[in-house]
Amino acid sequence: MSASAKRRVCVTGIGAVSPAGNDRETTWRRVVAGESCAMPISQFDARGWQTRFACEVRDFSMPRGALGPERDAYRTRANEFGLAAAHEAVLDSGILATVDPDRFGISVGVGIGTITPTQVAARLGDVNSSALSEDLARALGNLPDQYFLLRNHPGTLASLLSEHWNARGPLSTIHTACTSSGQSIGQAWMQIRDGDADVMLAGGTDSIAGELYHAAFCLLSALSKRNDDPQRAARPFDKDRDGFVPSEGAAVLVLEERERALSRGAKIYGEILSYGDTGNAYRITDLPDDGAGIIAAMESAVGAAGIDFKDVDYINAHGTSTPLNDRIEAIAIDRVFTARDAFPLVSSTKSVVGHLIAAAGALELAFCCLALRDGVVPPTQNLTESDCSRTIRFVAREAREAPLRIAMSNLLGFGGSNAVLVVRK
């Protein structure tokens, strides 16, 4: 997806809520410092669980002005994160007084929800387990909360944002697992380039730190079991990695047509050059051994950006800390870059903030923008010895200062979607 069209797209605002902090700069400082956010789970009593830690957002409260009181009924943990991140991004961009509502759109990637067993139990009432569906339907019909489903619908956050910020342009909600918010940003980028909008709020939100989804990922054996040392659990590309650390949070970026941003003297974090979007057509949770899908996405993104592979200074890898993902992603990076004598710095910020699933892409693109701004590559914490690649220039344990001009963000999702975004300073 090429950047050769006339309209170019910049990032002019960033908002974040993460386990590393409830705003952009606090989050970024901790990510650069490499301070792991993994802690014993506080949202429920995790004693007896296979994995008893997570990266949780703490001490969070929605900022005033992020949502009107008339929509209180639609607040969920994930929606609140998204609303707060959008609030920070909008204020950061200074866009509000300048934007035509008809040229202002929303595109968000959302996760699988924040419903808790307690909420489920409350709705089950006296349901008899032996006649589950029958009793369930009857019990549900007798409950007063008629907005339970709508509140938890994936499309609700985008709608709330559209209403709250009076955005009447394109409106989208996307779910493709871990690539959700990468795709939401990629598509928003295309919509601005095509002239469908001048400004888009694009990003994602997710929370899998509750029991139900924590249980789901335990069942899939996808989580680290390093309960005795949570802060060393997320160790992407390290030989001792044993799974990812569940997390939660949101990131929203203000994407703006470049000429418009320049004309109003906006602060510009970077320019999105291209977006690579491919599918593996392989398996739901596994990646093909040759990394073909993510290789195609990276090659497509670099080609469309009109740059050379050697021009990429930094890759924020998907790097989940699962045995398979990291091995295949490293193979792919080697084939795309090392084989062309290109040696970008590579790190995975999931080592600090954990895996935000649907919000990961947005937060990691935000990290790319901030890395370009500050000339610093955040570290892959806990990476002591890699069994994935001997040639990739991993930035391990400590941040590295470097003159950065172009960064890439990689995303690989359950279901086989891959997304790659390239951003230039």
């Binding site: 008809d102 759109g105 569906s133 339907a137 598509q187 469908d196 789901a216 359950f414």
Partner: protein, 470 residues
């Protein structure tokens, strides 16, 4: 008339659907003209004691179309319907993506490079229903009278009783994932979840990818599986569902835009089409079912005018605030205007409008007034049609189902019957131009509109028949 801003035509070369009248599109088209009802007592789950007992269920799923029979065991019903329908659309297009199917890949004109084949879906979720496998553990670990659970016991029960496959079954992008896996689709892809506009949004993005040269072909469409306890109950609680079918009356009918309407009936459904660049379609001499000429979507910046107005009982007087209608009208009008502009079409080019009338009290009234406004603003005189009187409300799939029906009526040169269930249209419906007589889609363009009823997103597309473009 042009077909896109870049001058690149978007051909429709494959189509398939599944509805409460089955997956044979000819049969579905015929059923629309019959007295047969497609709404029956729910069989997906036991409804004893439930207020809503009738729905539109797909009577059959064409499992023969499954790329891999094993998928039948791991896919939820909604996803099964989606994957089989999308695959049938691909089969209908004659495109080949697997080398084993092509004796000589390079020389087979129907071969499409899997990396140049994309998939864009608008597939709804059964969000809470996906948690059913955990319910036994929730129940058993609930602490009596405290409104909480014993987490340790819950964890132990989940790990010992829940099959991990249940987790994989609940992934919201399963329909997209299994379709791409089963059909070796390796190109651009995404999955939209924007309420009733999801299907058209998928179609819009699929078109965009072809226009930009990022794909030669894409399979796009929508699917919905609302016939499960949670969504059925929620719809009833929101006052959307017809109470007229609360008994076992198998002749229940939905009456879109009618003064006697009492609500919608939720239905399962799916519809997918294969879009293809003109160059690719012509090179392989594909049968072109129709052309897509324009697509657009906008937000209303209002969470949902109907949701607000419908708060409370469905039997209350319909009242719509003018401000709510203005925001909704703005988004719908903006979408139609943009889509017409892309198509370089005018109101005079339009032969039929496909609306979403589904019998809901507030929503139908709002839509009739909005479409009237769209017709006035764009000098359109064409009648307004919907299949929901017979096929029910299948949310993300609804507009795509109507598109597939239109393609079939174009192909066969037959008229679409009068809108089912309309006997005494409201004043607003008459002003809107509800199709009380059979409509000949003829050689003119069709406009599809999906309104901002829930979630504030509106979308429109403009399509025209193949022979018009010759």
């Amino acid at each position: 008339m042009n077909t896109s801003r870049t001058g690149q035509r978007i051909a429709i070369t494959g189509a398939a659907l599944n509805t409460n009248f089955g997956f044979d599109v000819s049969r579905v088209l015929e059923a629309l003209s019959s007295t047969e009802s497609g709404f029956r007592p729910i069989s997906n789950y036991k409804t004893t004691g439930c207020r809503v007992t009738m729905a539109g269920e797909c009577p059959a799923v064409d499992t023969a179309a499954l790329p891999d029979r094993k998928m039948q065991k791991v896919l939820r019903r909604k996803d099964l319907i989606a994957v089989t329908t999308a695959t049938r659309a691909i089969i209908n297009s004659n495109l080949i993506t697997r080398t084993s199917e092509a004796t000589a890949t390079e020389s087979n004109p129907n071969w499409v490079d899997p990396r140049r084949f994309g998939a864009f879906f608008g597939v709804g979720c059964t969000h809470i229903g996906d948690l059913v496998p955990y319910f036994e553990a929730v129940k058993a670990s609930a602490v009596a009278g405290k409104g909480e659970i014993n987490s340790a016991m819950f964890a132990e029960l989940v790990m010992s009783t829940v099959n991990p496959i249940a987790v994989l079954q609940s992934l919201m992008n399963n329909a997209l994932a299994y379709t791409t896996i089963g059909n070796n689709i390796r190109g651009v892809n995404s999955n939209f979840m924007q309420f009733n506009t999801s299907g058209l949004r998928a179609l819009e993005e699929g078109c965009r990818m072809i226009r930009h040269g990022l794909a030669d072909a894409v399979v796009v469409g929508g699917a919905a599986g609302p016939v499960e306890p949670f969504q059925m109950t929620e719809a009833w609680q929101m006052g959307r569902t017809s109470l007229r079918h609360a008994d076992a009356d198998s002749h229940v009918e939905v009456r879109p835009w009618d003064s006697e309407r009492s609500g919608c009936v939720l239905s399962e459904g799916a519809a997918f089409v294969v879009l293809e660049s003109e160059a690719h379609a012509v090179r392989r001499r594909a049968e072109i079912l129709g052309w897509l000429a324009g697509c657009a979507s906008r937000g209303s910046a209002h969470f949902g005018p109907v949701e607000d107005a419908a708060r409370g009982s469905a039997s209350e007087t319909v009242e719509l605030a003018e401000g709510e209608l203005n925001t909704a009208s703005h988004s719908l009008n903006g979408s139609v205007r943009h889509a017409l502009s892309m198509a370089e079409a005018t109101g005079a080019d339009i032969g039929i409008i496909f609306g979403e009338g589904n019998g809901e009290l507030v929503r139908d009234e709002a839509e009739a007034r909005l479409i009237s406004s769209v017709r006035r603003a764009n000098a359109i005189t064409a009648p307004v049609w919907t299949s929901r009187g017979k096929l029910g409300e299948s949310i993300e799939a609804g507009s795509m189902i109507d598109l597939v029906l239109l393609l079939e009526s174009w192909r066969r040169g037959v008229k679409l019957p009068p809108v089912s269930g309309v006997r005494s249209p409201t004043e607003a419906a008459r002003a809107m131009g509800v199709a009380e007589m059979a409509v000949d889609p003829g050689t003119r363009c069709a406009v599809f509109v999906a309104g901002p009823w829930y979630g504030g997103s509106a979308a429109a597309i403009v399509a025209h028949p193949h022979f018009r473009a010759q």
